[in-house]
Amino acid sequence: MKHHLSGALLALSLLAGVPAARAESIFTYASGKLLLTGGVSQVEGAAGGGLTPWAVIGGYETKDQIGANAFYTSVDTQDYRITSQGALVGLYNRVEFSYARQDFDTQGVGAALDLGYGYTISQETVGVKVRLLGDAILDQDHWWPQVSAGAQVKHNRNGALVKALGARDDQSTDYYVSATKLYLAHGLLLNGTLRATKANQFGILGYGGIDNDYHLQFEGSLAYLVNRRLAVGAEVRTKPDNLAVAKEGAGVDIFAAYALNKHLSLTLAYADLGNIVTRHQSGLYGSLQVGF
């Protein structure tokens, strides 16, 4: 995290040197949304907050455009380092396709469990999200939010290990519905997501456990627009507690997302991911997103 985040900050400061006008003229085809209104990249790759998907379709495209972005996220906790990287494409502000890979570096815990120091569990997530109704940004006279439905198809690449820990499967699909509303006059954005999932710890510890059922989970985000470039807020994401070997609890974070322009944003957060196998895990979260 330290290295990666400082790399990200370096990249940001280098790019900050590029005159905004020039950067703007390189990519003019997908700038039809207002700054920050495409959200940032959540850990499994969908557009949203850091932890939870929003109903917005990622990228700065409108109904006539295609947008895309890529991200790198790193979370450093007491015992682990979790990185996630991926990309998404937003089509006509209607459909979003995403891919992300999460790497869960067990560091010293890996050594203690005889897996080897730095043993890393990886998960790949392919996501699709479809906007069903509403426009979170423009429909300021409607009370109803923008609503989208999505699926995240997950594959854990360390099946033997996660099954040994009690998971039933090394692949599974999450389904979710998100409702997002910007209350522009108040500078507030609210999101609520309901997710049906079998995943343990986002899927890092496989899917299913004590039972093999879908568990309905709630995720929420609240963001306050400080100015056009900066949003601060908080998120919560409940998770199933379905592995016999260790308790699992909700994750929360407080974040600040800064958009330098429509092509570059940096999110910093303090995340508390609840208990992950050994003990309570919390730490600094950093995410860089580059958009086209």
Binding site: T28, T62, Q140, L184, A185, G187
Partner: protein
């Protein structure tokens, strides 16, 4: 019972809206405080002047405005902004559909105009919260204004 009342309300609301000829630009700051935050009439003149400069400078919007009656648009915008912000003006121009329906404006053009307006408001030191209140009142008009390509 509560639900019945709510259902009745939901059914009655559109009927109510139809009987009173609804103001397309509802006043959001009846006490005029928002109008003051924008610097009153003088402020709006400066903002719409700067807006027009920005719209002509931006290649995304240049072609819409270069041949338009820009003074007439500015006058109309000042009336609308003044009216919604509680400055007591009346809008005397065409309705939004009449003014825009032939122009083929796309959603990205709408966004471009909002960004030009944001720049103009920044330049004239309108606080961010006040800017957002005006933008929130204007945003729903995308439905009359955006008629091009995939629609608004």
């Amino acid at each position: 019972m509560k639900y019945l009342a709510l259902a009745a309300l939901l059914i009655a609301t559109p009927a109510l809206a139809e009987t009173q000829t609804a103001d397309p630009f509802p006043v959001i700051s009846p006490d005029g405080s928002l109008y003051q935050a924008f610097g009153g009439h003088e402020g709006l003149v400066r903002i719409t002047d700067d807006l027009m400069v920005n719209l002509l400078a931006d290649p995304r919007t240049h072609d819409f405005f270069v041949a338009a009656k820009r003074d007439q648009i500015k006058t109309g915008l000042i009336q609308i902004f003044c009216h919604v912000m509680g400055g007591g003006c009346t809008y005397t121009g065409k309705n939004m559909t009449e003014a825009h329906s032939q122009l083929g404006i796309r959603e990205e053009d709408f966004t471009a105009l909002v960004e030009s307006l944001q720049k103009a408001m920044d330049k004239n030191h309108v606080p961010f919260r006040a800017q957002n209140r005006l933008l929130a009142a204007m945003a729903p008009h995308h439905r009359e204004i955006v008629t091009g390509a995939g629609k608004g």
